[in-house]
Amino acid sequence: MMPAGLPFLFYAGAIGLLVIGISGIVLSRNLFRIILALALAEAGANLLLVLAGWHWGGSAPILGQGKALETMVDPVPQALVLTAIVIGVGIQALALALAVRAYRAYGTLDMRRLRNRMNRDIAAAAGIPAESSRDAPAGGRPTPPVPAAHRSGGGRA
């Protein structure tokens, strides 16, 4: 019998990796850092999957002389994770290539600056004045049309 702290440790590792990765994705502003965090979250999910197939005192699922089938761990999650890791690195490469292209076009990897510059380009292409900020007071610029249902105090006639 293994010590009882072991499941907690494995789960803490897997879920910790997943949560660190997701926090990195939502908190980070740098595209490159977001891709790294995505890889971390992926690794945590993979560990969680392999954990699902593991049991106490199990042996690797490789047939040999006198190895009992009952003690082998579940091979199906392992096969799933095997393909997931390889797909993960392919996705990572594609995301990095897109980030390189975005950097070439806009000269930054910072999400906010990237968004501002893209908005400016879109506004220039559409021939309308660029907004200085989304949160700025409307001031002179025209307000968007109000839907008919909300025009008279929002009440239904």
Binding site: L18, W54, T83, V100
Partner: protein
């Protein structure tokens, strides 16, 4: 505010996952499909490594879809990065240590890569791991001498042929009255190199395809122009 919401979300996710994990009988999973596979794999597929039997025998179609995704990712990377201009500056050659080391390591890495691929049905390893090692072996000369020309058409040829061999092996199984990608040629003696029917052929095709794809991907990434 957004950061606070994100942190709350991450904390909630951790709590939820922990709660689910606490409900599961850790260490005593209900091995239903896995148990059946463990019992029947030796007779049905004949591969000593049951993970290989699952990857190529029971879930061969899944693996075919997976290499298709990898192909799409590599092709997309080539499209996005584009070709380099003819006169673009290149990095200088590496020092003598890296150049000599690359020349020494290349045959060893190729040998290890093919060994891992061909023994994928007996020991841990297989097409993916061996393919990655092959890709690393073919990337080493490029790392030592960035000016080395890369034979992209040749890589595409290897990749396409390997993919075709994988699919044709599956179709042959279909024509002989079995399921798509069902292992053929009998199971052989468990634990010998020539066992598990067509699984070693499939894994060799898979390894060459993955290796050629990843080598091309690395070469494109290393070859793209730097503009700082």
């Amino acid at each position: 505010m957004r950061n606070l919401a994100s942190l709350l979300f991450a904390g909630g996710l951790a709590f939820l996952l922990m709660a689910i994990a606490a409900l599961l009988p850790f260490g005593h999973p209900p091995v239903l499909a896995g148990g059946a596979i463990l019992e029947q794999a030796a007779d049905q597929v004949g591969a000593a490594n049951i993970v290989t039997a699952v990857v190529l025998g029971y879930r061969g179609l899944d693996t075919l879809g997976e290499i298709t995704i990898l192909f799409a990712a590599a092709a997309g990377l080539g499209l996005v990065l584009g070709r380099r201009r003819a006169g673009a500056p290149r990095d200088p050659d590496a020092g003598p240590v890296l150049r000599t080391g690359a020349a020494l390591m290349f045959p060893l890495l190729v040998l290890v890569g093919f060994h891992i691929i061909l023994h994928g049905h007996l020991t841990p390893g297989g097409g993916f791991q061996g393919g990655v090692i092959l890709a690393a072996a073919f990337f080493l000369p490029l790392l030592a001498r960035p000016g080395t020309p890369v034979d992209h058409p040749g890589l595409s040829l290897v990749e396409g042929t390997a993919g075709a061999v994988f699919i044709v092996t599956g179709l042959v199984a279909l024509l002989t009255g079995g399921e798509f990608l069902q292992p053929l040629l009998g199971t052989g003696t468990l634990g010998t190199l020539f066992s598990a029917g067509t699984l070693p052929i499939l894994y060799l095709a898979l390894g060459l395809k993955v290796g050629a794809e990843l080598a091309g991907l690395l070469a494109r990434l290393a070859d793209a122009e730097t503009d700082t």
